[in-house]
Subunit: 589 residues, 2 copies
């Protein structure tokens, strides 16, 4: 037996006892007759003392210890001399006088320091991931992730959900993101695809009568990895039968409440706030608003319509929108600062940024187009007071929302007005379709199996041709869960009836042949007694990242890939032998 305790587990109750510990030499101090090492394992850090008086042999051997040597010691637990306790560490009251020391392995000098605050390049961190993971904050992230998945599994198991594995080698359906393909050796010229999600299979499981399914599962998307994305990511995937929107929402709220309270000890109120997609866009310019601060977007059309400012009037005439937000304390910004801000807005897609400072009256290049009364009305609507700046964007609705939504975030960050408490939010009643201008057709906003709302179903099944503008206003039983401005999950009630599913595919312009080819097995399954069902998927990486307070999902994934989707540890992907390709019936282009 190597040990009988973890380094972080020794405490006052052990004083006078002999313990056996194993771990890594973290810090080393030689005080002549006494050598001290901090010994680290996953449980924490213990101070080990090697005293000339206790054992010359052990003391001599301790001289050869270096950082990250792996050792096993035996020794007596003692109270540290008064004044030398370290209350920052949970074992800081005690130390262990080593009577035995065994060096289990040595270590070469490290390429970087393991302290939490050591600044290390990503390249080194990924290449030496086994060292990076030894850093206490990374080890904590692994623990946090484990606890989170364990808590989720316990919660869902208690509700009667069955965890069921769906295939990794599945069928390519070139919709949405790009598939990772796997050539088949036994079926020349054919390919598997790695799943982008288990969507079809979980719906099949509902048709099978599984009733409540979940899976914590790897999914794959071969996307260009800008932003904080990984080619393989992990979903908490769920599906339930005989449910409506509220049933799914209740389960997700239960999961998140339990995880936050159980793992982080952070109290979470349920039910969460809900916004319709429409309200979210109107008030925050995005379908994943950060609710930790206000700074809402306000429609200014009725007021600016009374002005003589032609830019605004033209936009309104052409069906555009004029909206504004209140830049708190931004009246002090210089003309140069305002120019920079305008450039920033332009880089986000706006033609320009109009501003009116509230500063001993009003100050603005466009002030002359507005009466005092109009200026006063605008300030009132935005809650702008002395020292603030009103910021206007006038453009097509999508541009206005996008630009002001992002400016809102930037301003909140700059001004430090983001609240400390996590804010969960449901965004509901998503549009069923969105117009794809490039392809001149409607696309499913979520996916083609998403159920319309009940009124939508009636309209679609009314057997009348629907005008494009009617189609555009249809909403769906889809919902997203948002945390602090991040979408951490989403789902919908699905279509469970063949007739409605066929109508939907018609509206999407997907031919019967195409539909049969792509997801014929789901269409078949609907014919044999499919129950009403719906579900959701949570992005585990992002959820744990937010729980950990990290800036990147790479800090909560044991072995992440780079922006070029390569693994600096194993050097995957790599070249393979031509004999391997030959067996797979492929060759390089």
């Amino acid at each position: 037996m190597y040990r009988n305790k973890g380094c972080g587990e020794i405490n006052e109750g052990d004083i006078g006892k002999e313990v056996a510990l194993c771990g890594w030499v973290y810090r080393y101090r030689d005080h002549g007759g006494l050598i001290f090492t901090d010994l680290r394992d996953r449980t924490g850090i213990a101070q080990i003392v090697y005293s000339l008086e206790i054992s010359e042999k052990v003391h001599a051997l301790a001289h050869s210890l270096r950082a990250e040597f792996v050792i096993a010691i035996k020794g007596n637990v003692c109270r540290r001399p008064e004044g030398t306790e370290n209350l920052d560490v949970k074992t800081g009251i005690v130390e262990v006088y080593a009577s035995e020391l065994k060096i289990l392995n040595t270590s070469e000098p490290l390429p970087f320091m393991l302290e939490n605050d050591a600044i290390v390049s990503d390249t080194l961190r990924f290449k030496y991931r086994y060292l990076d993971l030894r850093r206490p904050f990374m080890m904590n992230n692994l623990l946090l992730r484990h606890q989170t998945t364990k808590t989720i599994r316990d919660y869902l198991d208690a509700l009667g959900f069955l965890e069921i594995e769906t295939p990794m080698l599945t069928k390519s359906t070139p919709e949405g993101a790009r598939d990772y393909l796997v050539p088949s050796r036994l079926n020349p010229g054919s390919f598997y695809a790695l799943p982008q999600s288990p969507q079809l299979f979980k719906q099949i499981l509902m048709c099978a009568g599984v009733d409540k399914y979940f899976q914590i599962v790897k999914c794959f998307r071969d996307e260009d990895l800008r932003a904080d994305r990984q080619p393989e990511f992990t979903q908490v995937d769920m599906e339930m039968s005989f449910v409506g929107v509220d049933d799914v929402i209740t389960v997700v709220e239960g999961i998140l409440k339990t995880v936050y309270e159980g793992v982080l000890n952070v109290k979470v109120e349920t039910p969460f706030e809900r916004l319709t997609y429409k309200d979210a866009m109107e008030r925050f310019g995005t379908d994943k608003p950060d609710m930790r601060f206000g700074l809402e977007l306000k429609d200014m059309a009725d007021i600016v319509a009374q002005s003589s400012f032609k830019v605004f009037l033209d936009v309104l005439k052409n069906g555009g929108r004029v909206k504004a937000i209140c830049g708190k304390d931004m009246a002090a910004l210089s003309r140069k600062d305002m120019d920079n801000l305008t450039e920033h807005a332009q880089s986000l897609g706006a033609k320009g940024l109009a501003w009116i400072k509230v500063k001993d009256g009003f100050e603005s290049p466009i002030k002359k187009f507005f009466t005092d009364e109009l200026l006063r009305q605008m300030a009132e609507r935005l809650g702008a007071v002395q020292g603030d700046t009103m910021l206007f964007v006038a453009d097509k609705e999508a541009v206005v929302h996008d630009v002001l939504g992002r400016l809102r975030l930037d301003i909140a960050k700059t001004n430090g007005i983001i609240g400390a408490d996590d804010r969960f939010l449901w965004v509901v009643d998503f549009p069923l379709f969105e117009w794809n201008a490039a392809d001149d057709r409607f696309e499913a906003m979520h996916h083609p199996f998403t159920s319309p709302t009940d009124e939508g179903i009636d309209l679609i099944q009314a057997n009348k041709a629907l005008a494009d503008k009617d189609i555009a206003t249809l909403t769906s039983k889809a919902y997203d869960i948002v945390l602090n401005g991040y979408e951490i999950g989403g789902g919908s009630i699905r279509i469970h009836q063949t007739t409605l599913q066929k109508k939907m595919l018609e509206l999407l312009g997907i031919s019967e042949t195409d539909a049969e080819e792509k997801f014929g097995f789901l269409l078949d399954a609907l014919k044999y007694g499919a129950p009403p069902h719906g579900g959701v998927a949570l992005g585990l990486d992002r959820l744990v990242m937010l729980m950990a307070g990290s800036e990147t999902i790479r800090d909560v994934i044991a072995f992440p890939k780079t922006q070029k989707a390569s693994c600096l540890l194993s050097n995957a992907p790599s070249q393979v032998q031509d004999s391997q390709l030959k067996e797979l019936h492929i060759k390089l282009r």
Copy 2:
């Protein structure tokens, strides 16, 4: 809300109450004024009665019900009339008089019956897996699998194991089985491999100080799918630091005991029996002996050496073995039966099968070569009594063991002497190397990271060239867990020191360049303070199959593939668009 109970959950306590149930119409009986349906959901079956007296409308609608229609009902729970109870079903005391009935979905006539004992071709079962899974025994298998993984996770979590995900897109190391490859779009000409196991990554996690790791994880092998194999399969993968063989074995025994007792309510004694590899081969002719019956192989060399039977004498002279088993009650077999048995042995690789019946003395074509005393001694050694037949194979050791090992199983099945109780067994002290005659070199019996036994380590590190015969006798700290003749898992203590690992690779004839290329990152990791560690992987599919009493792992996998590695449900693998291949920098050969 669709329902407030599961169909299988109503009982006497509900009598007089109104319940809302949902499910599938399983059986339908029309008795005129009363229509009965069995309503099925995952929880069980409830009898629903539609009475003309309660609601004409509901009764009329019930007329339109067909098998597998999905319905929601409301109604009063009543005690069934005396004499009509069905005690085979847990809800068999009660029935529900429906006051409301809603048809949620219809079903076309099914391609096969859903009863457990319906005989359905695999092709139909896989194509309509959503119907196949509705069959009660299949739904139970899904439940059993869920409960098994849940129990394992709870057990390991309580012991401090962290579940950590390792990459699915990893590096091809063409050793052992064939890899599934995934072309990289972002790295032209490069490929990922799907993992055959997380072996290297879990060792890296030990080097990272994770201490106790596990993962229930998909693994992939592109093998020809004879026997009961799947291209993707699931492992319970574990690794621990600062452990020896017994520590790993204790954890596995704890898991299996807890799963069998908690999930199956079957008592399991620990510790399990252990056999060395050598003893297993000698006594049972295999490294995964079925311990539920005896019929052990006995060495007959010392006795037959005293005979005049040239065939046996020649084999012994050439270094071969002569061993025998006792065919219980097989003396009654005809000459024709014995010829068939001999043919069977030959098909297994033997040159022939010698037999001596114990039947009012001894009866055998080779009787004349043996004295009565020798015949008596042989019968005594084999425990052969009146009515038995002694069966001999003389050949090279590997052939003798293989043939007699298989005959032992066949005879046990034919004669029905297999005990009812599950028998777990550890096989330990595996050879470190095995000779690859084709390549004229030694190969690792497990893998190149397996630790030799302590004596082996001393020998290897003694810095003397080892003779082939010494290498052949080295044993390792590897262990397999066997259940009823199936290998359900295996593992080893790993090498944690660079010097020893290099020596091992030398002995395996793997050059430094090759080693660097294939698993350089592990060799690197060993340099920076790798702790002593070891682990194990359990085959989840096979374990659950044995727990379910199934004949094939396909019965415990929701969506299995065929022998040709295709999915009859989704039609994966399939052809893809050339544009997809182009992006991946590959084309078909």
